[in-house]
Symmetry: C2
Subunit: 122 residues, 2 copies
Amino acid sequence: MSYLIGEFSRLSGISIDTLRYYEKEKLIAVNRNSSGRRIFTDADLQWISFIKRLKETGMPIQQIRRYAFLRGQGDSTLRERLTLLKNHRAFVLEQKRIWEEHLSHLDQKMEFYEKKIAASEK
Amino acid sequence: MSYLIGEFSRLSGISIDTLRYYEKEKLIAVNRNSSGRRIFTDADLQWISFIKRLKETGMPIQQIRRYAFLRGQGDSTLRERLTLLKNHRAFVLEQKRIWEEHLSHLDQKMEFYEKKIAASEK
DNA sequence: GCTTGACCTGGAGTAAACTCCAGGTGGTAT
DNA sequence: ATACCACCTGGAGTTTACTCCAGGTCAAGC
């Protein structure tokens, strides 16, 4: 299946302007039809979903572009892409740790508040 | 103890410009000495540390300002501040969950890569 | 008494990642 | 054949959170 930008925007949950921006930034490489319109495929949908995840995990566009470039080179870059993901994994793991820490600090702070409120109540 | 902005910047790890920006945005209320210079205290250091944590947990300045405002109103706002923190806790918990999910997805992706590399090797 | 360094202000500039706009084209429904 | 709508482009504007700058003040050391 293939889609024009409007439908693809709906399917992917990414705005038309952002899709065009991603193409400009070389995160995606999009084919055109005879009248110059962008044609997106299901494969693009997979790829865009992964981009979304990379973005959600805080990867800057510059780095995603690097990954996209490697991907465009084919299977010879599998190792390098895996290395990139490994580094990113370390980052994601650290983020998870940090949020756990934030949570426990926040819980302490809230406990402190609860005590203070209880004290001011009697 | 009290500090001028330069020393306080070093102690808090927040740049001089950012401290002035935080004052402008009403995240902090700073006293001045007779010649108009900002005087920071240890209490300010505590507060700034908490602001740092709120920022690290993705709380936008607008919302921190609201918290700062309530804090400035004294103990009568303890409950409201606790409510604010409770809501924020839910957010932080969700973030933790999301990062866990990201981690497991990434691990799946990497496994996929490893298999593909192994296959292309023989 | 003059220089120096840390401080002051208002306002402009920056970076990242979009988001919007004006002006134009192509295919289709009436 | 004309209206309409989705699409196109280049480029300007937006948002958030700073960061930098020019021009000025003040207290201390020489």
